[in-house]
């Protein structure tokens, strides 16, 4: 379905062919998210399409989205590590080379995409949780 009612001109013809080519190239590319998973979840929403290329397009789009989020989280993590290193330069550098995806970084990254993920600061299992042990004895 086209938005415009005008017959496709040469420019648009290129766009159509570009799109068609892109969709054809999608068949060669195997997205990380498997087709069966995509089909299952879009079917839950009512998406009905027998065309595999569309499924692939959706899978690739999701993969792109997740990789963007992960990249942002990685930048957050690296920024934090570099900041930590700067503070404790006199002591031995806490070169935590392992890059771990933490909730903090993820929540910051997702916030830009409109997803609010909050992490609890602490869990109060008992009324005395978080209280200084010295004062607890009183």
């Amino acid at each position: 379905m086209m938005n415009q009612n005008q017959p496709p001109s040469d420019g648009r013809h290129d766009d159509d062919s570009a799109l068609a080519d892109f969709l054809a190239s999608l068949m060669d590319y195997t997205p990380t998210i498997p087709d069966e998973l995509v089909e299952h979840y879009v079917a839950k929403s009512g998406f009905q399409c027998p065309d595999v290329r569309l499924i692939r397009l959706v899978a690739v789009a999701t993969q792109k989205f997740i990789s963007e989020v992960a990249t942002d989280a990685l930048q957050q993590c690296k920024a934090r590590q570099s900041a930590a290193v700067k503070d404790k330069r006199d002591k031995q550098q806490k070169q935590d080379k392992r890059l771990i995806l933490t909730m903090e970084d993820l929540s910051k990254a997702l916030h830009e995409y409109g997803v609010n993920v909050k992490r609890q600061e602490y869990f109060a299992d008992s009324p005395s949780a978080g209280i200084d042990p010295a004062s607890r004895e009183e």
Binding site: T30, V42, S67, A70, F123
Partner: protein, 369 residues
């Protein structure tokens, strides 16, 4: 979404897992999504994840998928279709990416085919290396083939009522919904049970008695007590087994007469009463009465009174009443019974000669009675 941090206690994680597991039972799809997201993150550069962070991100991915499908479906419906189009998907992508922004978003007259989102995706595809999913994924969800209830036509029934067409599924069997009284097929009439029991007991006594007599008497001819009721059975058995042949009529064959053990018990004043004799007293009575009856009726009968066999009971020695001695000694031919004590030394022939003499003597006595 709120989820605990990775360093939280095990209990909290388990609770969270239980909660997420209860959300529709979509565990398999979630697990696959977690694997896929982990692979993407690894490709980006991460080396490890926090559990909660991974679960949150996979949740986000699933939600993105569903939102994209929903939006595409919405646009298809808007255009009056049920099946989605590539342009529906592109429009959905534009909707979801509008918060981030894509090139050409502000262009009101933009063409979908050259949408900024598609271009970004094609860039991504060309730049990023291909990471196939780690494991083969089966087609899911698996639907179970249920066997439908067969219709009336299929089971060959006619529906009970003209208003029911035969292609409808058949009614369930009446025993599944109507409680019918359960009848115990075996008659548990206590009276008949008792009668049956008594009859079997009598039968057992009778056969035991017969066996005893057979062992007590000469082994040559078995003067078995013929119960009128068992006559038919004996006839049938006789065809197969000569030993089970019905006894001969009185005077049919010249046999040495033998006395009925009951007679012996009555005649002899035996000090030691054998317990078996006592036990058989009622049966013996019955036998005697049966004997009289059979004699009167003229049916096959007891061997008529044969002379008593005299036994010598050793004083102080353990003596068994000969007729009730069921030991193997008594089975030998020509011996009525074995007796203990000094009589064991006697020769077989001598014993037999004595017996014959006595029998002839007794015969005269009994016939006189």
């Amino acid at each position: 979404m709120s989820d605990g941090g990775g360093e939280s206690g095990r209990d909290n994680e388990q609770d969270a897992r239980r909660k997420s597991g209860g959300r529709g039972g979509d565990d398999f799809g979630r697990a696959i999504a977690k694997i896929a997201v982990a692979q993407i993150c690894e490709n980006v550069g991460f080396q490890s994840f926090q559990q909660s962070a991974l679960e949150s991100l996979s949740d986000v991915a699933i939600r993105y998928l569903r939102d994209l499908g929903k939006t595409a479906h919405f646009y298809a419906n808007l255009a009056g279709r049920t099946h989605c189009n590539v342009f529906d998907v592109i429009q959905g992508l534009e909707d979801l990416g509008s918060s981030q922004g894509f090139s050409g978003a502000s262009d009101v007259n933009r063409c979908l085919a050259s949408s900024g989102t598609v271009r970004e995706i094609s860039q991504y595809v060309s730049l990023e290396q291909e990471i196939p999913f780690a494991r083969p994924v089966p087609r899911f969800p698996v639907t179970r083939n249920r066997k439908p209830t067969p219709s009336f036509l299929q089971i060959g029934e006619t529906p009970p009522g003209n208003h029911i067409p035969p292609w409808l599924p058949a009614f369930p069997d009446p025993h599944t919904y109507i409680q019918t009284p359960v009848w115990n097929e075996r008659a548990t009439d206590p009276r008949t049970d008792k009668v049956e029991q008594a009859r079997q007991r009598r039968k057992a006594e009778r056969s035991l008695l017969n066996l005893q007599q057979r062992l007590a008497c000469n082994g040559s001819v078995a003067p078995a007590q013929v119960d009128p009721a068992d006559a038919g059975k004996l006839k049938r058995a006789a065809e197969s087994n000569p030993f089970l042949a019905s006894p001969l009529q009185q005077g049919e064959k010249d046999v040495s007469p033998v006395v009925c053990p009951a007679k012996l018990a009555k005649n002899m004043a035996v000090e030691n009463q054998v317990s078996v004799l006592e036990a058989f007293a009622p049966a013996i009575e019955a036998v005697k009465s049966g004997v009289c009856e059979s004699v009167d009726a003229g049916k096959k009968v007891l061997p008529n009174k044969r002379p008593t066999v005299h036994f010598k009971f050793g004083i102080g020695k353990k003596a068994l009443g000969a007729p009730v001695d069921l030991s193997l000694h008594s089975k030998s031919a020509g011996k009525t019974a074995s007796w203990f004590g000094k009589d064991e030394e006697k020769d077989d022939k001598k014993r037999r000669a004595e017996k014959i003499l006595k029998e002839s003597m007794e015969n005269q006595q009994e016939f006189a009675q």
